[in-house]
Symmetry: C2
Amino acid sequence: MPTIVVDVMPKAELLDPQGKATSGALDRLGHGRFHDVRIGKRFELNVDGEVTAEVLAEVRTVANEILSNAVIEDVVAISVDGEAVAVEAQ
Amino acid sequence: MPTIVVDVMPKAELLDPQGKATSGALDRLGHGRFHDVRIGKRFELNVDGEVTAEVLAEVRTVANEILSNAVIEDVVAISVDGEAVAVEAQ
């Protein structure tokens, strides 16, 4: 059964308070070489049957309209069983 | 500046109520072919300079001890500028 992964991140131009807090914590805990932490979401979905072009189109729709909030988030990656596919329809 | 991505998912044997709710919503909205949705986190970190073996070891420590809660979550993937690296030290 194919597994589809959709990665969603807060838009680059928006503050990410959760990421900022994590950056601060890493700094205090002696891991100051890591910075500008941003925290997004990773969705794993299973799908029955083969992943056809039609299924991919539906994945893009679901990713953009249901799994992410386009006002504040971007869909940054979609992959099927580890293979990256285009986030936007070609 | 290299970007490191750390993916964290709820452990497979644990319930993921957020994912379950999303599966239900997809079903009601006519996307029933997608199921068993699980929702994890995607961390993006920037690091200064080159990613040496020492930096990678530190990334693994940070991923396992700070970015994830080992009781309920697994670090499922780490990548540097899009290249997957081993989650566990070899």
